[in-house]
């Protein structure tokens, strides 16, 4: 009985399921995808057990399908995220995310003396390494690495 009720809340007819988000990155993913501005039904779940991530989070969004360049932005905080595209309750497509070549906004430049941290300038980076993410600021030309990566 209990199982049935959970199922009825979480199953979606059409939309996108984002799985394998590190639990600590759930709210960052929500903010990067600007899910707070959407009017469709959504379910967020977090702290599920995961063999790979320890604790993972999950997002289910009804009637929303992302463009590649939109969804790839979350690779910065959820590199192992998997997408399931749902149509009429069936998974019709699975895909993974990949760090894009350029990042506009989202990330803060780690150089305190960079113009983007002192004037109203949207940050802009060239991705110089995708594995251990390294971003080169298009303004001050300094590298922001994974360890210092802060989401705005």
């Amino acid at each position: 009985m209990t199982d049935k009720r959970i199922l009825s809340v979480t199953a979606i007819k059409d939309g996108t399921v984002i799985d394998h988000i590190p639990a600590k990155s759930l709210f960052k993913v929500i903010s990067i995808l600007e899910l707070d501005t959407l009017n469709t039904q959504m379910t967020f779940g977090t702290n599920f057990n995961s063999k790979k991530l320890g604790r993972k989070a999950l997002i289910k969004i009804s009637n929303k399908f992302f463009k590649d360049e939109e969804i790839d932005k979350i690779a910065l905080v959820a590199p192992d995220a998997k997408l399931n595209i749902i149509k009429d309750y069936q998974v019709v497509e699975k895909r993974e995310v990949e760090v894009p070549d350029k990042i506009v906004g989202i990330v803060k430049c780690m150089n305190p003396n960079c113009v983007t941290n002192n004037e109203k300038v949207v940050t802009k980076f060239d991705v110089v390494s995708k594995k251990d993410v390294a971003l080169k600021c298009c303004y001050c030309e300094k590298i922001t690495d994974q360890e210092h990566l802060k989401i705005i």
Binding site: N113, C114, V115, E119, V121, E141
Partner: protein, 302 residues
């Protein structure tokens, strides 16, 4: 290069670098012309830099152009809280070209995005100072006859010195050998070594250069600043290891030239000044010709 801003030395291809050097050579022969007549150049110095500003203003004045601008932020609307964007947008209306010096890194790139006229970066914090780099290249080409296959010694503060980093990037187009001579605390950062490794360029690191200087074609000296050291004792220990004096030049190559971006403090003894291998004051003069070349090529006059 017409209408293209010059923000970073990497904005120019090797061919474009050589083109600017050639034009600078023309201005060296004839540096007083009227080609900038009717042009207005803005020199916006958000932090003072007398040497760089005078060099730019001399370059423009000798070509008949006019200068507007300010010499530090306290005498501008920045003090009233105006954003950089608004200052640049406004000044764009008053001039044909903006020369800008600013303490924030990346400020020049940002200015070039919001300006409606081209921007020349005259130094953005610790990041880039491309006109200094071009005048260094011009000085090297002029004294060596070529930029190819030279043995270049970079001495002093290799960690924070932006002129050193820009010169390294630009010269790496011309198959150099680099010798880096610096105290441990001021060694060349790994990212530049990685860059050279990827390009297959030879480099060697040393903590002393009195022996190996015999091999040098160019010795590029820089100032070691006391405030760069976490331990003042360390500074006292190393400060004299990176001083060049006249005796050290005995037996060096005929074509050797000593360069320095200036200002010098004590890293080159004054007894070197009269040696014909000392080139730093002529290097400063070359700055005027190089800036004339950059300005006139951006304005489409050369």
């Amino acid at each position: 290069m017409k209408n293209k801003s010059l923000i970073s030395i990497n904005d120019y291809t090797p061919e474009e670098l050589l083109k600017i050097i050639d034009i600078a050579g023309e201005f060296e022969k004839n540096s007083v012309q009227d080609i900038l007549k009717g042009k207005v150049i803005a020199t916006l110095f958000f932090e003072p830099s007398t040497r760089t500003r005078l060099s730019f203003e001399s370059a423009v004045n000798r070509l008949g152009g006019r200068i507007i601008g300010f010499t530090d932020a306290s005498s501008s609307s920045v003090k009233k809280g105006e954003s950089l964007k608004d200052t640049i947008r406004t000044v764009s209306n008053y001039c044909d070209l903006i020369v800008m010096r600013h303490p924030l890194e990346g400020s020049a790139r940002y200015a070039s995005e919001v300006a409606t006229v081209p921007v020349i970066n005259a130094g953005d914090g610790a990041n880039q100072h491309p006109t200094q780099c071009l005048l260094d290249l011009f000085s090297i080409k002029k004294t060596q006859g070529t930029l190819e296959n030279l043995n270049i010694f970079l001495v002093g503060d290799l960690k924070y010195g932006r002129t050193v980093h820009s010169l390294l990037m630009a010269m790496s187009n011309f198959n150099p050998t680099f010798n880096f001579i610096s105290p441990d605390e001021l060694k060349i950062p790994d990212e530049y070594k990685l860059f050279l490794d990827n390009k297959g360029i030879k480099y060697y690191e040393h903590s002393d250069f009195s022996e190996i200087i015999l091999r040098a074609d160019i010795v590029y000296m820089t100032r070691i600043q006391k405030e760069r050291f976490s331990d003042p004792m360390e500074y006292e220990k190393v400060k004299n290891s990176y001083v060049l004096n006249n005796d050290m030049l005995t037996g060096t190559k005929e074509n050797l030239k000593i360069l320095h971006p200036l200002p010098r403090v004590n890293e080159i003894s004054e007894d070197v000044d009269e040696n014909e291998k000392a080139y730093y004051f002529t290097q400063a003069l070359n700055g005027v010709f190089t800036r004339q070349a950059i300005i006139s090529s951006i304005l489409g006059l050369k």
